[in-house]
Symmetry: C2
């Protein structure tokens, strides 16, 4: 196990009617002038936004609204948000939405105090040194952004995706009410589930030896997803299954299951170019790219793939042919993704094999190598995209 620091100070308020505590929580963490940042109109239509605003009013807090966050949140809205925060002397951002909305809020929070163009921080030309405090009312189980210091934003001009990671943009509190996720359609639900599983796998595939505790915790979360996912796809109003998925999503991404080990994150990297170019859902892109990545890299450590195949997917170990076991695990993963309605290849997300050179170019690997479980050069990432383009008859 490697040395590490673990710090997860976000207070989680989990359960029914949590959004009614939004005002109380903002006040507890020192907010008085609040930017309420939200995404689609569904928060408006469902009455969620009204309930949140009412709870702010009940505490006597000033607020302004900024809606319009899209999936794969754009830099353009962040510039607008920073402007509003400056004009209105905002001292707290309350993010009401999913991962995109929270990521957008983090961009605004960090950009507020930065004197230049906030995009510099996403290009790693500048560090995040100060940020407005953030709270969230989460409406989708997936991103893990509610408990993390990470934010991914897309530059409208060129559709370039980049990220920042800083404790300063970690939410002070996150309100998690599984009821709010019950209205999410099956496809988006499945995308969220895929994203959660990817967050676990990106940590699971490591070169660090002797990390049984985090291995077992990762496997526990994956087993939870395998049990609960079909239940919410079958009945979107299954509160208990929604609750288990929502908490698993948070635990999967606050890094408690990923400390002390090298991680991968190449599937996320390769996917970002897919959803950047084709504007598909992040989870859908992951369903296409992650199994392809697994097929390409499994020989790097066959035994690790056998471990997940046997412990998580219930495959019997083939001691005469471990590679067969490893591949069976990957096949089970694809079958699971299909069973919850996910796409599995390029065609199904509107991607084109002839665009692969463009994807590779945007990824910016150049003549270098992307680190991770298995180092990947230009040829490797090209091959992974090619595997992702192969038609899957599952």
């Amino acid at each position: 196990m490697e040395n590490f620091n673990f710090y997860s100070p976000t207070e989680f308020v989990f359960g029914t009617e949590g959004e009614l505590k939004a005002g109380e929580m903002v006040k507890k963490y020192g907010g008085s002038r609040v930017l309420v940042h939200f995404g689609s109109n569904s928060a408006k239509k469902s009455g969620l936004l009204d309930r949140v605003c009412q709870s702010l009013e009940d505490e006597g807090l000033f607020y302004v609204l900024l809606g319009g966050v899209k999936p794969n949140p754009r830099d353009t809205l962040i510039y607008e948000g920073i402007e509003i925060c400056k004009n209105e002397n905002i001292d707290f951002i309350l993010s009401v939405g999913g991962g995109s909305c929270i990521d957008s809020s983090k961009g605004i929070a960090a950009g507020f105090y930065y004197e230049g163009d906030f995009w510099d921080m996403y290009l790693r030309k500048a560090d995040v040194k100060k940020a407005l405090p953030i709270g969230t009312v989460l409406t989708i189980a997936a991103a893990g952004s509610e408990g993390s210091g990470a934010s991914v934003v897309t530059k409208e001009d060129g559709m370039l995706k980049r990220d920042i990671v800083s404790d300063l943009v970690r939410p002070r509190f996150s309100i998690l009410n599984p009821e709010l996720t019950c209205t999410l359609p099956p496809y988006q639900t499945a995308c969220g589930i895929t994203d959660i599983m990817a967050h676990i796998f990106e940590r699971y595939f490591t070169n660090t030896l002797e990390v049984e505790v985090t291995d077992r915790l990762c496997e526990g979360l994956l087993l939870t997803m395998i049990k609960e996912a079909p239940r919410v796809i079958e009945n979107p109003n299954n509160y208990e299954a929604r609750a288990n998925i929502m908490w698993a999503g948070t635990v999967a991404h606050n890094d408690i299951v990923g400390v002390g080990r090298s991680q991968d994150w190449n599937s996320h990297g390769l996917e970002h170019e897919l959803s950047g170019l084709y504007d598909c859902a992040h989870g859908a892109g992951l369903a296409v790219i992650m199994p392809a990545w697994m097929e390409y890299v499994y020989k790097h450590n066959v035994m690790r793939f056998c471990q997940v195949a046997t412990r998580v997917w219930g495959v019997q170990m083939n001691f005469e042919n471990p590679e067969e076991t490893a591949l069976a695990g990957i096949r089970e993963f694809r079958k699971f993704l299909r069973s919850i309605g996910m796409p599995l290849d390029f065609e199904e997300i509107g991607a084109k094999a002839e665009d692969i050179p463009v994807l590779v170019e945007k990824l910016g690997v150049g003549d270098g190598v992307r680190g991770g479980f298995m180092p990947l050069n230009r040829e490797d990432v090209t091959n992974i995209y090619k595997l992702a383009a192969v038609k899957q008859n599952i």
Copy 2:
């Protein structure tokens, strides 16, 4: 799943040579005049205390030393600590030791601001309203006190054990260096392992339905202990096994695996009277009482005991006779405890069956009922102590 709040703001600094960062961390969290509270002479002899004090000096921090914490920490030392903190204008407590030392530090931290007798808070006659900030350098994997708001203290006069639970006494930071645990003798190591497993089981045995995510996380931690425990008993210097156990111990008790569900804690309650009366190690008392508790309550939910038997202990499910499966799991637990050198019955910890009425009296159950997985009245706890007194030929 039940509604819950989860808040675990402690910063964990995990890995080799962590104690050299003690001064830096105290400073980061605002300390300038430090009470260094420690237990046995081993921290002195090993040079650990010198290294910690040196790191405080390097940061220009004032400190005073207070040693002498015993296992099952006493109220008497806490009175002394409060007095020193007042006389020396202490503003930070650095606890260098195991669970007892940290629990003692929490008593001092809460008592410092309380105008009356600090024991009032342990008797639940008063709330903890303010406390000195605490940091820890943990020397034993076990108590979980390094990440929790709980403190258990024994009143010297009458050997009465009572506890407080408050976020205000949660450590601001905890330094976890597995190297420091390598000098711990096998018996104390095994006691710590038993305590960690008990912390998991107390959360695992719940009446809350539909808690797959926390069930799976608990099982993952138990499987980790089962793999790693024999390795440290065989080779106390196995750093990797020590590291896995140490992090499992922390995760087991910061409640991330226990949220959203009713918990039990009756084994801890019944054990506290054992170690209170006989001054045996807490973990040894748990090894005696917890399997006895399981034998007494398993019929309350046979399927839950089958779940742990099959998922954790590798027992094959007997579908014609589930009770047999449940009992096989309990037997495997006892065999595991024996394999790491733990006592299994009253005689082995110097307890006497004829003292049972005294134990029951001290427990203070009276004519009432102790809540938990299965409610226990006076007769029930008497029966559990009787089962714990039965000679175990394992």
